[in-house]
Amino acid sequence: MKKWLVVLLALSFSMPALGLAEDKPKEFVVYADKNAKDNHFIPSGWMGDYGDIKMDDQAADNPHTGTTSIKFVYSAKKLQNQGWAGVYWQNPANNWGNKKGGFDLTGMTKLTFWAKGAKGGEVILKIMVGGIKGTYPDSSAIEIGPIELTDTWKQYTVNLAGKDLTYINGGFGWTTTVDLNPEGATFYIDDIKFEADPSLKPETKKQETMPFYVYSDRSSTKNHFIPSGWMGDYGDIKYEGATKEDPYLGDSCIKITYNGKKAQGAGWAGIFWQNPANNWGNVDAGFDLSKTTSFTFWAKGAKGGERIEEFKVGGIMGEFSDSDSAVIGPVILNKEWTKYTIDLKGKDMSYVIGGFCWSTNVDNNPEGATFYLDELKYE
């Protein structure tokens, strides 16, 4: 009798468990249609040049499914003088990590969404899942991009397998820049959802193929790394990533003006190109550039004679340090475009978050320095 009781008890306990296992949600919707009951997260986190963004979350012109999609018009007017803009879907609305919210999305292995451009060719710099910091930070930060949209609906996937999704407040987000869309961009997004796909494996970092550009042209999707790591007297630097003043190749190049006024009292300044932006080794990201043997770039001074103390690749040190670094300098720039090479033979470039860097100082440029860079690439 007792044995039967044990078996019955065991069965009675296991049945609900089995039932629960079967009830595990297969998807978690961010946006299906304007008034869909199972929508989660609010597109409240407008960033950068937020004045450049117009959103219609019930655009009825040709949705992917249902009756509506979300239409964004990005004017690229730089109304807040940032040069970039984006939107985060948050829970609750406007939660930048200052209050508890978010969802436990454990079990989900990917986020999918559909998108298209009004004309095709519109470029989204990044699609983000998680990554909101603050007192209650998201448990993960995942990004993909850049994405060049087509004029027809296309599905995109963010692999989340193996990621810690126990707390996600920033359910979905996108950013783009003026440089990538100088004339602005109109695009549509629909059917954003998390999905549980047990067959999906965690993404391993792939070895990037060469050449691998840091900068090709202002709107190029080949560009990687963001010139976000301003150092020293950052107030002395003016950065123009899309000047048309005599580029070496293509339609644009980078112009940097260093005025040497010691705005922060350091006496030197520089910029690191990072992945993702502002990553000083605190985010596990970057690229595997193991196949590279050299980094090449073209540079020239406005007058000639400008002295750059260092041109460097790698070398960011933090919790997640660059695997190696290499440097040339000091370099005295010519007035004509000149090619420079940083030899990377024998270097371990398997983990690079600091894609490129320059630095100079007021001692060697008492009047400041204006210089140009173009075709920055690993080969």
Binding site: W280, G281, N282, G318, D324, V331, I332, G346, K347
Partner: protein
Amino acid sequence: MSPLSLRGHFSLVWRTVPILLLAICFLAAAPRGRPKVFIKKLKNNHYQLIVEHKPYIIKGVCYNPIPISQNYEYDWWSDPNKPWIVDGKLMKDMGINTIRLYQVDGDSDAVKRVIRDLYKNYGIRTILGSWLGFWEYPCPFYGDKKFQNKVKKEVLEMVSLYKDEPGVLMWVLGNENNYSCLGTVNPWSSDEIDKEPDPQKQKAMRAKIYYSFVNDLTREIHKIDSDHPVALGNGELVGLEFANKYARDVDLVACIIYRGKTFGNLFRSLKLTFDKPILVSEFGADCYDAYLKKEDQNMQAFFLESQWRQIYENLAGNKDGAGNCLGGTIFEWTDEWWKHDQSNPDSWSVHDTTSNWSNGSYYFDIKAEGNKNMNEEWFGIVALSQDLEQGINKRVPRKAYYVVREFWKKPILNNKRNKK
């Protein structure tokens, strides 16, 4: 003496002399025995330090036992309380077998006493170094023959004085003097260099002068002391491509590396740049969290254990490593309370918590104001107490002392951990 016996005597001499001459010739021609300390290149191109016929891993500390309220001018060698006796016992208990002294000054008998006491009582060997005039005022002029001769005289005097001490392990020439070739620390120049307009060529000219000078010193040391290797002290791997051209005679490099939890590609990079064995002669972590503004012994212990693991992974015989590391000397044994405000004697009695510099590799407290997270007075793996014990500041081992001790007892390397 009868003529007969005289003849017999001559006969004996004639028979003995050739044998003696042969013996003398044989002895003269016979190869000299192995040096007491040398570096062996193994068949797999790994490097191994051999001390008195046995492999030797340098498990060391940088040693400068300045008491609270004193500064770097304090002559601790002549301290009647002999701090090295207490320290030596603690070091031996931890597993330390080597101390590194940056430079020896003053009474040579006092220095010899320290070296002998540590060696005889605890089996601890001593690395002796020279700043090569780097901190003299005005800044060093390695291009000036007079300056070179002065430094050379000092170095050779040091070698002559201490080379026969059984406790001496090796010589280290310079520390981070290579940075002066870049002009970033103690810059120097010469008329010839000043004439060169290209700053990269200027850098190369300075490096050629400096590394050639170190090479010259090395050769001179080898002439008078074949029993101890000579190391080129160097900040990071900066400039070693020039050392590869101009300092080929050094036996090893002794590098200062502050890269946080990882040495990164250091060992393999060295192999490609300048294929010499390496002693990581200055590394470590401070134990003050400049962000939370409190002592954090866990942080220091975390970094040091990780650093030692990588040192062990790159010793000879580890097939997954570069095989060119001979060990390391942690910076440092005890805290030094004088360092933050060196010119203010009142501050030498205060354990300053103001940070002097920033290093993102030590990321626990990088969010400190101005990102200044490195606390120069808090690098000791042994804290100093203001209480006196046996006439010296009481020694209080920190967590890192115990963590590294346990690691040395049973080194578990990452590749082995991953296989589990």
